[in-house]
Symmetry: C2
Subunit: 328 residues, 2 copies
C-alpha cells in the first residue's frame, strides 16, 4: 500500500501505480473529506515545532515568569509554545494534555498538578516526549529539571536558627506532591540537626482549595499557643501573600513579632515594608534547561532521562534579621 | 459518496453499502495512515470546543489573572483554553495566531499587542471568530469588551486634584495602542477641566522594551525640575512596580513627597508600606464577558458585533491621601 500513499502525498510519479487508479484513490479521499493525518506526517517528518507547556497555576507569578522564560528559550530554538494552566487540578491537566496531543505538539514541558502521576506514566508509556519542570515523581523515571526543594527549605531553617529564632513554624500545602514533601522534610531536619526538637503544632498544612481561611486559622493557632512561634517559613508564594496580609491585619510586626522566610518570589516581597527573605529559585535556568532537555529528547528519544536538580539561593533581607538586633 | 463517508465515521449500518466494500475502504484508509480530517469534521459538527487566548504578557499579573478567569468561564461553557503570550510583540502574536489556527481552535480571545491591527483585520476578513479583550482598535468594527480607559484615567486625575495635588505627572508607555492613548487623554483632560494647565514635561512616555531605565529617567527628570511633580499616575502595573522600587531607592516618601495612583492591580500594591490607590478593572467581568461574547459569536457568526465598555473602580488608599492631611 506504500505506493498508494505516495500518490496522495505527491511524492511519486503517478505512472508507477497507473494514472487511473491514482485518480480514483484521490477522488475517494477527497470526497470522503479526508486529508493526510498531520500527526502521522509530523512523526515521520519530525516536527510541528510546537511545544505544549502545562503549568500548575497561571495566576502564580512564579509560573507566569517561568512560562515567559520557556517561551523566549523555545523561540530561540525555533519552537512556538502553547500554554495551558491546570489550576492545580488533575482533571483539568488531563483535559489539557488530550487537547494538546490532538493539536499535535511535538512534546510537553509540565509542572505537574496533584494526583497527575498517572498522566505522566501515560505519556511515558505512549513515548510522547516530555520534561517535568519544578515538580517530579521520584517513582517514575523521567526527564526533569527542578529546584532542590529539600535543600532550599533546610537552608531557610538553618538561617532562622542561626539568627536566634527558637520556635520556627512552617505553613505548607496539604499535598502529596513530592516537592512539597521535600520542603517539609528540609524544614524539619534543619531544626532537629540544630538541636531544636521539632513540634508537630509548628507545622500547618493548608488545603490548596481554601488558602485564605487555612492560612488565617494556621496563624491564629500558632500565635495563640503559650509559646507562639517567633519565625515562620511559608512554603509557597500564595501562602506567603495570604499570610502577610493577615499578619498586617493582626498588626504583628515583622520581624519583631514574627520573622518570615518564604518560597516563591515576587514584587510584593520587595515592596513590603520589611523586605521579605526568600528562596530565589533559578527561574531563568530552570526554564532554559527544560527547553534544552526537551529539544534533546526530541532529537534522541531513546537517550537516558536527564534529571537535574538546581540550588535555590537564600536572599536574606530584613524580615529574618538577627533576633538580638531586632529587639534593640 | 456520502454513504462511504458514513462507513468511516461509523454512523451508518455497513449493510447499506455492502460489508465487503465498507471493509475495503476502511482498510485502504487505515493503510494509508489517514484519519478523518478534524477540521472538516469540526466545521460540519460546529466545534472543536477549544478557545485560543492570546495575551499581551503572561508575566503581568493583570493578564495572568484574566487568563485564569477566562479558563474558568470557558470550562463552564464546555471549552478548553489554549494560551499564547505575545510579549507585546506583533511578530510573536502573528506566529501564535497561525499556530492556533492550524491547531483548529473554534475562536480567539485576544489582548492585542502593539502593531497587530492588520492581524485583527485578517481574522475579520477570514471570518475567524474572535473577541478583543481590554484593548481594541476603534477603526475596525469587532466584538470587544474593555475597560473605559479614558474614564478611569480621568477619575484618577480628578481624585488627585480634589485631594490638593497641583503638579500631577503621568508615566505611560510610548505606544500607539488605543487604550494607552485613552489613558493619556483622560489624564490630560482631568487636569484642564479642573483649571490645572497641563505641562508637557509632566507626561513621560517610556519604551516598553526598556521599562526600568525609562522609568528611572522619567522620575529623575520630573523630580529634578524646579517645581517637581507632587503626584504621579502610573499608566500600567509594570511601570508602577519599577517606579515604586526606584522611589524607595531615592528615599522619597509616599505620599509626602509624591502621591501615587496606578493602573493595574496586584498584591504588591496591598503590601507596600503605603497601600497604593489603584484603578481596579473588573477582571472577573471582563473575562466572563469575553467568553460569553465569543460563545455567542460562534453560535451566530452573522450577528452585529457587541462592543462593551466597563468602568474601572478607583480604590482609594493611603498613597493619595488628602495633601493637607499628609503635611500635618
Amino acid at each position: 500500500m506504500a505506493l498508494v500513499s505516495y500518490v496522495l502525498n505527491g511524492k511519486e510519479k503517478e505512472s508507477r501505480v497507473g494514472q487511473e487508479i491514482a485518480g480514483k484513490i484521490k477522488q475517494i479521499a477527497s470526497e470522503l473529506g479526508y486529508q493526510p493525518n498531520h500527526l502521522a506526517k509530523s512523526l515521520r517528518s519530525g516536527k510541528t515545532h510546537t511545544i505544549g507547556l502545562i503549568i500548575a497555576d497561571i495566576s502564580n507569578p512564579f509560573f507566569a515568569n517561568i512560562a515567559r522564560v520557556v517561551e523566549d528559550e523555545a523561540k530561540r530554538h525555533g519552537y512556538t509554545v502553547i500554554i495551558g494552566s491546570s489550576d492545580e487540578n488533575a482533571e483539568k491537566s488531563r483535559d489539557l494534555l488530550n487537547v494538546l496531543i490532538n493539536r499535535q505538539v511535538d512534546g510537553f514541558i509540565i509542572v505537574s498538578a496533584e494526583d497527575s502521576q498517572e498522566q505522566v506514566q501515560y505519556l511515558k508509556d505512549k513515548k510522547i516526549p516530555f520534561v517535568l519542570l519544578d515538580r517530579y515523581f521520584p517513582a517514575i523515571q523521567t526527564d526533569f529539571v527542578s529546584t532542590n526543594h529539600y535543600k532550599a527549605a533546610y537552608n531557610a531553617g538553618v538561617h532562622l536558627v542561626k539568627n536566634g529564632y527558637k520556635r520556627i513554624g512552617m505553613i505548607a500545602y496539604d499535598s502529596q506532591l513530592f516537592h512539597m514533601q521535600e520542603r517539609i522534610r528540609g524544614y524539619v531536619e534543619a531544626l532537629t540537626d540544630n538541636h531544636i526538637p521539632f513540634q508537630e503544632h509548628w507545622l500547618k498544612r493548608v488545603r490548596i482549595s481554601a488558602i485564605e481561611q487555612g492560612v488565617k486559622a494556621a496563624i491564629d493557632e500558632m500565635m495563640a499557643s503559650e509559646q507562639p512561634v517567633d519565625a515562620l517559613i511559608f512554603a509557597t508564594y500564595s501562602l506567603a501573600i495570604n499570610g502577610l496580609k493577615y499578619i498586617n491585619e493582626l498588626r504583628l510586626n515583622v520581624p519583631g513579632d514574627l520573622a518570615i522566610v518564604s518560597f516563591g518570589q515576587a514584587e510584593a516581597f520587595d515592596l513590603y515594608y520589611c523586605p521579605i527573605t526568600y528562596l530565589k529559585q533559578p527561574i531563568g535556568l530552570l526554564g532554559q534547561t527544560a527547553v534544552e532537555l526537551l529539544v534533546k529528547k526530541l532529537k534522541e528519544p531513546q537517550a537516558e532521562p536527564s534529571q537535574i536538580l538546581m540550588e535555590a539561593e537564600l536572599i536574606i533581607r530584613a524580615s529574618s534579621k538577627t533576633k538580638s538586633l531586632v529587639n534593640n
